[in-house]
Every structure is written in structure tokens, then in C-alpha cells.
């Protein structure tokens, strides 16, 4: 028997609120005592069905079981997470409204010249949630079997290496730019609108390399439509034990690890953040979560608030350098 699903969608909660009315219960919020006493709301800066959405839904379900409070996932898609962050900042700093930030957030910091907020000061870190690497892959028809092969081949082509990724300003796109500079190859990053379009480009053989998260193209890799050459993490991906890291494959100093983390408003009390951090740590350690995340090609791992925040700050710097070099910064 499955446990009763407590992860509700937003309209369902609106109905519940209309029926029960919980507007008055917020009086107890703010102190660690009696927290949590009402439903959580987690804002996701993407549409339903994506990796960030799926992982937070799985975690949210267990968070709900652990705290006895419903968890509502609210999708606020839109460029750079601006809509999501604005919604987050309009909520009370009581720990009941949370937001999922990703390494995409750190890119938006540089991509958007004047954001109406300062993400490093207006939000408060709670914990990391999930970590994942990207996969460099080629088409089976290319005859290329290693990263060195690819680089050698690219050197002989007039236009250099052709790399397919999703839209400009994505982690994948910047990872491709970073790869070009670290590997010292000439080439073009060609942008596609969606991950399936990237796969299509690989299937047609119109590009030499595609860079995408393992999860997104798991089916293609498993079936041999795409040949993985290297993974971008610091260590090998447990799902692809045969595939070397980019560093092992001969390109030094190149590591890209994507992450999802939970943040809340800056004014949230310490004890509330501590309690939330503790709950998320418990949830990510659950065998079921470990296993479900691993199936998605993602590692479930929490962190201290400070750890993830240092990571956020470091990634803002890292991607700013890449974007300045690739002429993508500050609009």
C-alpha cells in the first residue's frame, strides 16, 4: 500500500483554504516552537515535469510525511527565475514558503543586468537537495570513441567543433563554452530550443558533440542513440561507471556539477531554518529518496546552509567569467 499522497497541487490547496480557512494560524509562526503548524509552499522556477520539479515533488512528499503538514508545489516558470523569486520575496519570512534555486540562478545573476532583488542578500539558504553532472556525448555514426578522438577530429575541421546544447544562458550552454576554452579548441556552440531538439541534432549527425544532463537523455544513452564520452562531475557517475570524467579524459581543470537547493526569505528565524535543514537532511538520507533520485541520475545530498551558499557565490563568479568571455553577460 502506498502512503496517502499529501503533495497537493495549488488549486486543490486553494479549495482547502477556502473550506477550512487557515489565515489566522500564522500567529504562531516565527518562533521555532510549534513549527510547522500549517502547510508549506515550495516555489519551483520551472514548469511541471522537469528535473527540478520532479526531485522537489519526491522530496516534498516525504517532507510532508515527516512534518505532518501538506506541501504545495507551485510552478512559477519564466526567464531567469524572476517570477519565482519575486513571489518568494513577497511571502512572509516564516519558513513556510520555500524556493528551489539551481545553478541556473547563479547564471541569471550575470545574465540579467538589473534584477529587482539581490539573491545573495534577500534569500537565506536552507540546504542543498540534489546534485548532478552533465554528459558529453556523440553520435554512434561519428566513429568517435573517446574525448581525445573527438578533439583530434575537431582540429582537422575548418569550423572546429560543433556542440549542441539547449538555449543560450543554460548551464549546458555555458558548460560547452567552458569546455571549448579549457580544451583549447575552436568551434561553435549551436543552440536548440529543447533537449529533444538536441537529441535530434545528434541523431542527424549535424553536430560533433552534445552536452546535456544524464537524466534528460538517459533513454538515448541506454539505447545507444548517443555515445557518452565523458561526464563533467568531479567523480564518475555511478550510472555510467565505464565513462571517464572530463579530467580523466585529458582536459584538466574542467568540472561542472549542477545542483538544486532549498532557500527561504532572509528574515526567517534561525531555529526555523535549523529545523528545516534537519528535516531535509533526514529526507535526503531516506533509502527510498536515495534510490528514486539515483534512478533519475541525480545524487540526493543535503548540506549545511553555509556550504550551499558558498557554492552559490562561487558559481556566480565561475559563470560570470565564462559569460564575459563568451559575450553573454549583462543585458
Amino acid at each position: 500500500m502506498k502512503r496517502r499522497n499529501l503533495v497537493l497541487s495549488l488549486p486543490m490547496l486553494a479549495v482547502l483554504q477556502a473550506c477550512g480557512g487557515n489565515g489566522e494560524s500564522s500567529a504562531s509562526a516565527g518562533s521555532g516552537e510549534g513549527f510547522p503548524s500549517r502547510p508549506f509552499r515550495i516555489i519551483v522556477p520551472f514548469g511541471a515535469g522537469g528535473l527540478a520539479d520532479v526531485t522537489i515533488r519526491l522530496a516534498g512528499e516525504h517532507l510532508s510525511v515527516a512534518t505532518g503538514q501538506p506541501v504545495v508545489i507551485e510552478n512559477r516558470p519564466g526567464a531567469g527565475g524572476v517570477a519565482a523569486t519575486t513571489t518568494m520575496l513577497s511571502a512572509a519570512p516564516d519558513g513556510y514558503t520555500l524556493i528551489v534555486l539551481t545553478n541556473g540562478t547563479t547564471i541569471a545573476e550575470t545574465q540579467f543586468a538589473d534584477l529587482p532583488y539581490d539573491i545573495t542578500a534577500d534569500l537565506r539558504p536552507v540546504s542543498a537537495l540534489a546534485w548532478f553532472d552533465l554528459v558529453l556525448m556523440t553520435s554512434p555514426d561519428s566513429g568517435v570513441t573517446s574525448l581525445q578522438d573527438l578533439l583530434t577530429k575537431a582540429a582537422t575541421r575548418p569550423g572546429g567543433l560543433r556542440i549542441a546544447t539547449i538555449n543560450p544562458g543554460s548551464t549546458q550552454h555555458l558548460s560547452a563554452e567552458l569546455f571549448k576554452s579549457k580544451a583549447g579548441v575552436a568551434g561553435t556552440v549551436i543552440s536548440y530550443r529543447t533537449t529533444p531538439d538536441v537529441l535530434g541534432a545528434l541523431l542527424r549527425g549535424e553536430v560533433d558533440l552534445a552536452i546535456e544532463a544524464y537524466t534528460a537523455l538517459k533513454g538515448a544513452i541506454d539505447s545507444g542513440q548517443a555515445v557518452p564520452l565523458a561526464v563533467t562531475g568531479e567523480a564518475r557517475n555511478p550510472a555510467l561507471p565505464e565513462v571517464p570524467t572530463v579530467a580523466e579524459a585529458g582536459v584538466a581543470d574542467y568540472v561542472v556539477t549542477g545542483w538544486n537547493a532549498v532557500y527561504t526569505n532572509a528574515g526567517t528565524p534561525d531555529e526555523v531554518v535549523a529545523r528545516l535543514n534537519e528535516e531535509i537532511a533526514k529526507v535526503t538520507a531516506l533509502p527510498e529518496i536515495q534510490q528514486r533520485f539515483a534512478e533519475l541520475g541525480v545524487e540526493a545530498r543535503s548540506s549545511t546552509p553555509d556550504e550551499i551558499h558558498q557554492r552559490l557565490l562561487a558559481d556566480i563568479e565561475k559563470w560570470r567569467d565564462v559569460m564575459v568571455a563568451a559575450n553573454l553577460a549583462g543585458q
Binding site: 510552478n75 516558470p77 543552440s191 531538439d197 537529441l199 538515448a220 534512478e295 543585458q331
Partner: protein, 500 residues
């Protein structure tokens, strides 16, 4: 024989009480959200996705797919009756559907669209069953240069969309192309014409544009002119719904062409039902012996696009299920639903998960039959909508449009945009500027630009890529032929006029 065995396996999966009920739930929900202006399949499927996490993957997919194709049945209803499209592709149906209602033939229009939808959907399902893997490989082999040429042909063919001044129609296409430029440039990542508004960085929302130009504008127009189709009687007899012999003749051809066009475009990732509907309309107008009837209540102008959009959504499952390459955002959400269950769509889906694949395919058929049975009796009910006093109806529609547009991105900016486009659309109508070409320019413009530039990037800047690829060359030649034919016929017409 193998196909039959597979189909038997599929029906075995879905001829259970649970599966049938879930399918019925999906298609019924789909029909209603299709009828309601603004609220579309993407929103509904996103909202229902979490519900499917605790269902069996097959059941989840049956329901989500049912919502998707069900919404294409409902989408035309409000277009025909009120000139307010229920979904973006149904904006095309307004062009001839609403004039039919004004002539008191709403029942006939709804009848032919329902039958056309069923035929279009069924045709694509047959393709899916017989040729899915092969067709998917053909579809995926179309590269950027091919897309460019196909879209260019579509844009050229569609220059005939408007009624009235060709110059005004052309101006609206160009304006649509300009609106399509708003947002993040796919190649450089630069923001274009966003005026510092972050909400515009992803471009103008198609639903906001379509609902504003067609829905809100129509309501403003009716309020000013007071011209609302009145019902002769609120009793709808079966007889008043049945098409005449002449209608059937129009219907047959347009239905066949709509099925082909819709299936072809549906299979190509990146083109959706909106483009299929527009192109089908353009084709119908080109081949018709009575092109002057278009825009004034042509049956072919309604059945063609409606058949095409249904064929297209059903055909979109071909690359999605066989290659794991979803054609649009809705398909991507469905794939997300499968991933949660640990099912990875891809070339191995058919062999690894035959129950799932053939079960879904069988459910499509059952779902389409359900939709036919569901929609025919509903026609009478929908037509009665017209007897609701307008002072009650129009606030309700505005309310639904607002909710629907808001729900796409949870964005209030989009709602404001809708009303802005509503005012603009109202002005267009008063001045005789047709809105349909604008919408087409908006949908095709970004695709043409994106693929043109991508093709050049891939060919290292060599323009010859467009004529070196046979598919691209073929479509470019057809485009050229169309332009020459249009020029010739104009010339001949002028000579004829001089001779008289």
C-alpha cells in the same frame, strides 16, 4: 499479423473498467477545457501531472493523452458559436465557423468539426500503428534547412488568409513577425525588444496573444455593434445539424487533405496544431472551387483546419513514443510523467514496454470513439449557449479568459497583455485589418529565423545548404511555383479586365 497481435495486447490492457473510466475522465476533461476559452491542455496536463504519480504509468498516460486530444475536439466550439477561440489552434476555426453561426448553421458547423476531428485523429492513429518507427525516423531526419523551407512555404501560402485588402493582410503578417522577435534570441542569448521587462524575456505568450486578438477583441466588438447571432429557436433538431449534400462534398476533400497535412506537421518536432490548422486553411482556400466563400462561412474552411489539428496532436505521439523526442511542451510534460515512473521513452520503449506502448495506442482509439459519442449530443447543448443573455455571457467569458491566460505561466503580466491585445484587436477589426495573418506571422516567424540561422551555423555560413538538401530544395521550388502562379493569375486577371 504481428500488428494485430500487438493491437490485441493493447486492447487487453485498456478494456478494463479502470482504464475505460480513466480514459473517459481524460477526454471529458479535455473537451471541457477545450471549450473554455484560454484554459488549454498544457495547463491542465501540468496540473493533473502530480495526480498521475500514484497511478500505474499506463493509466497516467492514458489520462494525460486523453486531455490533450480531447481539448482539440472542444477547442472549436466557442470559435464557431462566439468567435472566441477555446484554444490557440481554434483561432483559425473562427474565420469560417462564426460566419456559419451567423447564417444559423452553427449545428452543421459543430457537426462537421466533430466528424472531421474524429477522422483526422483516426487517420493519424492508423499511421502510428502501422508505420510509427519508420515515420519517426523520417521526421527526425528533417534538419534546420528543411524546416526553414517548409515554414517559408507555409508563410507564403498563408498570405491568402485574410479577407479584403491583400496589403492589409501583408502588413499584419509583418507585424506578427515583429511580435515574434520579442524575447531571448535563441542563438546569441541577447534580449530583443523586451524593454527591460523580465516577463518578456521568454517572448510574448501565444495564448495571451490569441485570446486577446480573437476573444477579448470580439467581445468589445459585439458590445459596440450589438450584433450577436440570434437563435431562431432553442430547439436543435438532428435535422438542423445535418450537412447538406453540397456540404458533404466540401467535407470529403477537406477532411482528407486535413488528415494528411495534420499528420505530416504533427510528426515534425517543433510544429504544433496551430501551424497545422493555419496551413490546412491556406491549402483549402487554394484548392477550393469557391475561394470567395472563405471567410464568409465555408464548410471546407472549418473542417480542413479542425481535421488537421486533431491529426497533428495524434501524430505528435509518433516521435514521442518511438524516439523519445517530444514535439512540443505538452509532450515533454507527459514524458516527465513517464520518467517519474522510471519509464524512459526512447527507441526501446516498444520492445521493453509493449503493454505500455500498445495500451496507449489502443486507448487513443477508444478515446476518440468516446469523444465522438460525447460530442455529438453536446452540440445541441452548446448551441443553446447562444440563448444566454450577452450581459451574463461576456463577463463570464472575460473571467475564463483571464484565468486561462494566467494559468499558463501564473503571470498577471500575461493577463494585462491579453487585454492590451484585446484593445488592439478591436481597433484592427474596426479598421479592417485581419488578425489571423498576424497570429500566423507570430507563430512562424521565430521558427523561420531560428532555423535559417541554425542552418547557416551548421553549414559554416554557406547559403547553398538550402538547395543542396533535397527536402529543402523541393519545398523552396513549391514556394517559388506558388509565387509565380499568384503573379501569373494577377497578370491574367488584369488582361481579362482590360479586354472587357
Amino acid at each position: 499479423m504481428e500488428t494485430l497481435t500487438n493491437l490485441a495486447l493493447g486492447f487487453e490492457q485498456v478494456l478494463t473498467v479502470q482504464a475505460l473510466l480513466i480514459c473517459l475522465l481524460g477526454v471529458t476533461l479535455g473537451t471541457f477545457i477545450g471549450v473554455l476559452p484560454g484554459i488549454g491542455a498544457l495547463t491542465t496536463i501540468s496540473l493533473c501531472l502530480p495526480l498521475t504519480f500514484h497511478l500505474d504509468p499506463l493509466m497516467g498516460l492514458i489520462m494525460l493523452a486523453g486531455i490533450f486530444y480531447g481539448s482539440q475536439y472542444g477547442g472549436s466550439t466557442a470559435s464557431i458559436l462566439l468567435n472566441v477561440p477555446g484554444t490557440a489552434p481554434a483561432a483559425v476555426t473562427c474565420l469560417d465557423g462564426y460566419p456559419l453561426t451567423k447564417q444559423g448553421r452553427a449545428g452543421v458547423a459543430l457537426f462537421v468539426t466533430t466528424i472531421g476531428s474524429f477522422i483526422g485523429g483516426s487517420f493519424a492513429i492508423v499511421l502510428l500503428i502501422l508505420f510509427a518507427p519508420m515515420l519517426a525516423n523520417v521526421a527526425i531526419s528533417f534538419s534546420a534547412a528543411d524546416y526553414f523551407s517548409i515554414m517559408l512555404l507555409a508563410l507564403t501560402a498563408a498570405s491568402t488568409l485574410g479577407v479584403g485588402s491583400p496589403l492589409k493582410g501583408l502588413a499584419m503578417v509583418v507585424f506578427g513577425l515583429a511580435l515574434g522577435l520579442v524575447g531571448t534570441d535563441i542563438n546569441s542569448g541577447q534580449f530583443r525588444f523586451t524593454f527591460g521587462v523580465p516577463a518578456l524575456a521568454d517572448g510574448i505568450n501565444l495564448v495571451a496573444l490569441a485570446m486577446g486578438l480573437f476573444g477579448v477583441a470580439e467581445i468589445l466588438n459585439t458590445l459596440v455593434t450589438g450584433a450577436l447571432p440570434r437563435l431562431e429557436s432553442t430547439r436543435i433538431t438532428l435535422r438542423s445539424m445535418l450537412p447538406t449534400k453540397e456540404d458533404w462534398q466540401d467535407f470529403r476533400g477537406s477532411c482528407a487533405r486535413g488528415s494528411l497535412v495534420g499528420s505530416f506537421l504533427g510528426m515534425l518536432p517543433g510544429t504544433g496544431p496551430t501551424i497545422a490548422a493555419f496551413i490546412s486553411y491556406a491549402i483549402e482556400k487554394k484548392v477550393s472551387r469557391t475561394p470567395e466563400k472563405f471567410g464568409h462561412g465555408s464548410i471546407a474552411g472549418v473542417t480542413g483546419p479542425e481535421t488537421a489539428n486533431n491529426a497533428s496532436v495524434q501524430a505528435a505521439f509518433i516521435p514521442t513514443l518511438t524516439l523519445g523526442v517530444p514535439g512540443d511542451a505538452i509532450m515533454a510534460v507527459m514524458i516527465g510523467g513517464l520518467l517519474i515512473h522510471g519509464v524512459t521513452p526512447g527507441p526501446q520503449l516498444i520492445s521493453d514496454n509493449p503493454q505500455l506502448f500498445w495500451g496507449v495506442v489502443a486507448s487513443f482509439w477508444i478515446g476518440n470513439v468516446m469523444l465522438l459519442i460525447l460530442n455529438l449530443p453536446l452540440i445541441g447543448l452548446w448551441v443553446k449557449l447562444l440563448s444566454i443573455p450577452y450581459k451574463v455571457l461576456f463577463p463570464a467569458i472575460l473571467f475564463l479568459i483571464s484565468i486561462g491566460v494566467y494559468s499558463v505561466n501564473n503571470s498577471t503580466f500575461d493577463v494585462l497583455l491579453t487585454f492590451g491585445f484585446g484593445l488592439l484587436g478591436f481597433w484592427f477589426t474596426r479598421r479592417g485589418f485581419p488578425s489571423a495573418p498576424l497570429l500566423l506571422g507570430f507563430v512562424l516567424g521565430p521558427l523561420i529565423e531560428e532555423n535559417f540561422r541554425r542552418a547557416l551555423l551548421l553549414s559554416d555560413g554557406n547559403l547553398a545548404t538550402f538547395v543542396e538538401r533535397p527536402v529543402s530544395l523541393g519545398f523552396l521550388l513549391i514556394t517559388l511555383a506558388l509565387l509565380v502562379a499568384a503573379g501569373l493569375s494577377k497578370h491574367l486577371l488584369a488582361r481579362k479586365n482590360r479586354a472587357q
